[in-house]
């Protein structure tokens, strides 16, 4: 279980302190899928970075299975099982998709096993394993590779930051079933997804709404989702963009 306790995060913006996260507390119990939603700029990605250790809270604590991990580095948290798929994935010259999945898995994975992760995000694996994770990949392809690396990590807590962005409808349906299937298997593990998509909110155990850095609402899906329908925090599928790159049939 991961617990945030009165977490605040402030940055110095042009010499002025600017609070991006204000006194946020919530729990991510084992075996649950939590979805964080809320308006753009509300602090969702920042919260994910605080959990992964990329940013450190100005005040408050983060706990993992009863241990205070507030001071832990990114590496220590990763090794303790926190996995994080970035909203904006990073490109690397010369590092292949296969290399990245192997690094994520932490062992010398067979090519065929790496392919399983790529297929589950709708990429034709054999076209991609040897591609470099560089500027030649489209945004949607990169995003799916990012998700595949986090799937490969099989983390204690897997965080996906707006996984639907840049992904076509077919792959999105596939992705939902990947998350649902993950949800069935997790038991002692948990999933945190940042999303505005109604279909993703719909598979949540709990929903957290973050607005202007503050916890606006949090609770079981059945309580929170009805209050969100029709707002930008829960968009239906029709908001999807057209497919962009990455054949899904092979």
């Amino acid at each position: 279980m991961i617990e945030l306790e009165h977490v605040s995060f402030e940055v110095n913006d042009e010499k002025e302190g600017k609070e991006i996260i204000h006194d946020v507390s919530f729990k991510i119990p084992d075996g649950q899928l939590i979805v964080i939603t809320g308006p753009n700029g509300g602090g969702k990605s920042t919260l994910a970075k605080l959990i992964a250790g990329i940013e450190k809270p100005t005040s408050g604590k983060i706990w993992m299975d009863g241990k205070d991990i507030t001071g832990w580095s990114v590496t220590e948290r990763a090794r303790a099982g926190i996995a994080y798929a970035f909203q904006q994935p990073v490109r690397f010259k010369g590092i292949r998709v296969l290399d990245l999945i192997r690094l994520a898995k932490g062992e010398k994975l067979a090519v065929s096993d790496a392919c399983v992760y790529l297929s589950s995000v709708g990429l034709c694996a054999r076209d991609y394993v040897n591609r470099e994770v560089n500027a030649s990949l489209s945004g949607g392809e990169l995003k799916r590779i990012e998700i595949a690396t986090v799937l490969a990590r099989e983390g204690h807590l897997s965080i996906f930051d707006e996984p639907e962005a840049g992904i076509d409808l077919w792959s999105f349906k596939n992705l939902i079933s990947v998350f649902e299937e993950m949800r069935q298997r997790i038991k002692d593990r948990s999933i945190l997804i940042i999303s505005h998509q109604e279909r993703i909110l719909n598979i949540a155990d709990q929903i957290v709404v973050l607005r202007a850095g503050r916890l606006d609402a949090a609770g079981p899906k059945d309580e929170i989702l009805p209050t969100l329908i029709g707002t930008s925090s829960a968009s239906p599928d029709c908001r999807f963009q057209a497919p962009s790159g990455g054949e899904t049939e092979c």
Partner: protein, 308 residues
């Protein structure tokens, strides 16, 4: 039968990926003399009469054959200049593996200056691989100053892969090429300097023939207090296309100087230069740390990929 000591074997592995005597034609030079040589049916290696180097003659139409000409040095204080000439016959398609490994455990400098000239006949294809490597604890420097001259006849093609990753203290590489109509030169240079090392790489590529093209790309990493200079000049004297690129990672107190040079003397010469120097992007390191790597492991992976 060729006898090699452990150090010679190690150096040969580093510079030519050789674990045994190579297949096909070869000449292995160690501490100033040839210690093994073999010609093949279509590739003839002979010594120059004045003893200054070798001549490699590749018959026309020779296909899918290779020639290895590695140099190893393990003697401190040795300084040599070697002049090797390569004649590649019409429509041949061959791989030439050169390279120099120096192990200097003494206190005097060890230096190898290889002057290589390539005369590539019409339609021939050459892949040339040259690796540099240095090792040894001595105070003496390991110095390599290769000069490569390339003459590409009509529709000839040459691809040069130049690699220097470790252990060479001082290098001054000069590459000069002249391209006839329809010929193409591709250069892929990978360089890493560390400690107090110094590496200068100069290209002067002249495209004289219509439809010729050149693509010179260098990827490099400068660490510690090392210095690199990449000076690539392309000259277009006809309808041609040329591209040079210097893509560098700078670390610690390393320094890199990239000097672009493009000279177009014909209205249909299209020449492009790109250069980018910068430290490793912070988000790349963070991404790999979220996969469980430490900061220095992440750096190593990024560099390994970049120089791959």
């Amino acid at each position: 039968m060729l006898k090699l000591d452990e150090m010679q074997k190690k150096l040969l592995e580093e510079v030519a990926d050789l674990h045994a005597v190579p297949e096909g034609a070869y000449n292995i030079r160690s501490n100033g003399k040839s210690i093994g040589r073999s010609s093949s049916a279509h590739i003839h290696i002979t010594s120059k009469e004045d003893g200054s180097g070798i001549v490699v003659q590749i018959d026309p139409e020779t296909k899918k054959e290779s020639v290895h000409i590695p140099v190893v040095m393990t003697q401190t204080g040795l300084k040599e200049v070697v002049y090797n000439d390569f004649y590649i016959g019409k429509d041949a398609d061959v791989v030439i593996v050169a390279g120099c490994g120096i192990d200097n455990c003494g206190n005097q400098d060890a230096q190898h200056d290889g002057i290589h000239r390539f005369f590539v006949d019409p339609g021939a294809k050459v892949k040339y691989v040259e690796k540099h490597y240095g090792s040894g604890e001595g105070k003496g420097k390991r110095i390599l100053n290769p000069v490569t001259e390339v003459f590409l006849s009509e529709n000839a093609y040459m691809e040069m892969e130049m690699v220097q990753i470790k252990g060479v203290d001082d290098t001054n590489r000069k590459t000069v090429a002249k391209l006839d109509a329809g010929s193409k030169l591709v250069v892929r240079e990978r360089l890493m300097t560390h400690d107090e090392q110094n590496a200068v790489s100069t290209y002067d590529v002249v495209m004289d023939g219509a439809g010729s093209s050149a693509d010179v790309v260098s990827r490099s990493v400068a660490r510690d207090r090392s210095f690199q200079k990449f000076d690539a000049k392309l000259v277009g004297n006809a309808e041609c296309s040329g591209h040079t690129e210097c893509d560098s990672i700078i670390m610690d107190e390393g320094r890199i100087l990239a000097v672009p040079g493009l000279e177009a003397n014909h209205v249909d010469a299209a020449l492009v230069h790109e250069a980018a120097i910068g430290k490793i992007a912070g988000e790349q390191i963070i991404k790999l740390m979220t996969l469980g790597l430490t900061e220095s492991e992440a750096e190593e992976q990024i560099i390994k990929g970049f120089l791959n």
